[in-house]
């Protein structure tokens, strides 16, 4: 049985004097959504290009379904690539073809006969909600629609793995959410494994089960997303990304917020409650059962979401494992933003 769909072992890649990948190792399980985050130039795109053989690492191995693709000849690499879908930041659609023609392209490359291609393209157009746009040119679509075409095209040949390089970076927040919802939906329905590259923590928070943080070509953090959001980040770069997130907090709060617990410090957490949880008196239960008071510092609706989601930032009167466990149940993406002096 294949337990890891993809395994990267000690991959290194240099460009002249520039190290793009420095001893990168990780695994991806089938059906998982892995988010890779890193600053510009961290090596994310280089890593992704190595994963589908567009780029070869100088050393190390990359195993896809237990086949090392770093040593495969071009002819066999072509076969492996047909098992991997790729979604681009700038869509990369052919304007010489219609929307349906773009979606059919991977099938045409794989030698699928025309009538089957048509049928499959229709299916995918429906999946991404663009049936009425089949005959248009990509240039006539909005950014969000183009990315839906990009995703449909990447899915056309039934890939085992979907790679997304900054798939939402060129889109506005609302469109980003709808694209992420689509990806999560595809992951749930088809059990498709997704690797998603981004430089926005928000994207990771919304969709990735696991997070890989890259910095200067190295993997500096490889953890469950929930754990990192709960304050389990080990590396400074990870914290910097988390901190960038809390930029939306009031300045007065940010000034007092410290990343690590301290004596007399009260945790500040961000809770996101979806439709079911909004029916539960979460804060009352917290007070009654766990004896912890919550002061609301900020509250609102999570912006632009398809489903109703309430979001609030609260200061807890104390730290307690039982209470944290309960909150995590109510809000799986709960995030510990930091700690402030309890008397403030």
């Amino acid at each position: 049985m294949v337990t890891s769909l993809l395994r990267v072992e000690h991959a290194c890649r240099r460009f002249g004097g520039q190290t793009a990948l420095d001893d990168v190792s990780f695994q991806v399980r089938p059906g998982e959504i892995l988010g890779i985050i890193g600053r510009s130039g961290a090596g994310k795109t280089t890593l992704l290009r190595c994963l589908n053989g567009l780029e070869r690492p100088d050393s190390g191995r990359i195993l896809i379904e237990d086949r090392d693709i770093t040593t495969l000849p071009e002819r066999e690499l072509v076969q492996v690539r047909r098992r991997i879908g790729l979604v681009f930041q700038h869509f990369n659609l052919l304007n010489s073809r219609t929307v349906a023609g773009n979606i059919e392209l991977p099938l045409q490359i794989a030698g699928v006969p025309r009538d089957k291609r048509r049928a499959r393209a229709d299916e995918l157009l429906e999946l991404v909600g663009l049936t009425s746009h089949a005959g248009k040119r990509p240039g006539q679509l909005s950014g969000g629609q183009k990315q839906r075409v990009g995703i449909a095209r990447a899915l056309a040949a039934d890939p085992a793995l979907l790679l997304c390089d900054e798939a939402t970076s060129a889109l506005d927040p609302e469109t980003t959410l709808s694209i992420l919802d689509l990806l999560r939906d595809i992951n749930r329905r088809l059990g498709l494994t997704i690797i998603l590259i981004t430089h926005e923590m928000d994207v990771i928070r919304r969709i990735a089960q696991r997070i890989l943080v890259m910095d200067h070509g190295r993997v500096v953090e490889d953890a469950e997303t929930a754990q990192v959001l709960r304050g389990g980040a080990r590396h400074n770069v990870t914290r910097a990304f988390l901190h960038g997130e809390s930029a939306r907090l009031p300045d007065a709060l940010l000034a007092r917020l410290r990343p690590d617990p301290f004596a007399g410090g009260a945790p500040v957490v961000r809770l996101t409650l979806d439709a079911e949880a909004t029916g539960t008196p979460v804060l009352s239960i917290l007070a009654r059962r766990h004896g912890i008071d919550a002061t609301i510092l900020q509250a609102g609706m999570a912006e632009g979401s398809a489903h109703m989601r309430a979001e609030c930032v609260v200061r807890l009167s104390g730290h307690d494992d039982g209470a944290m466990g309960f909150l995590l149940q109510a809000s799986p993406s709960m995030e510990v933003l930091g700690y402030v002096p309890a008397d403030s």
């Binding site: 567009l54 790729l86 052919l94 392209l105 490359i109 040949a157």
Partner: protein, 215 residues
Amino acid sequence: MSRLILDLILHATVETMEMVLASGLIAVIGGLPLAILLIATAPGGILPLPAFSRALGLVIDAARAVPFMILLVLLIPVTRLVAGTALGTGAAIVPLSIAAVPYFARIAEVSLREVDRNLVDAVRAMGGTRWMVIRFVLLPEALPGLISGLTVTLVTLVGASAMAGVIGAGGLGDLAIRYGYQRFNTTIMLSVVAVLIALVTLMQAVGNGLARRLR
């Protein structure tokens, strides 16, 4: 204008069109593969062979550097070999084609180079072969530019074919020289110029229209 003169002009126009279209066709058949070869073998291309690319570029530029008048004369032995004669419309097609192939190759190369590299990567990432990259990306995406380039080539060939009149190629150029220049027949000379202008304008309009529709 007499019936005779009209016949002369009509006949010459057909000859010019024959020369231009035949050598234009050969320019595409010969020049397009050369352009693709230049792009593919350039550094960062789909089959990088920089030394080969540079050598090919040099040969193409050398051929383009020779003035057409000189080429006409230089090629007379070759023309005899290919066409059996150095005179007439058929014979003129040989030097016209040899000039047009490298000309169109360079023009087509520019259009092909403008195709977004990321589109090539996208098709490579889908498991497309080099041939598929050429067929599904380079040619269709560059098509409007290639049509515009072909239009420019054809217009240039109209001018060059008139010059080929010097070696008795027939066509409008030949007519202008024989009647206009040697016999001072201003009517014929002006008529020929008018026909040439009309021909070029028409070609340009058709080319522009096609390129716009494809874009």
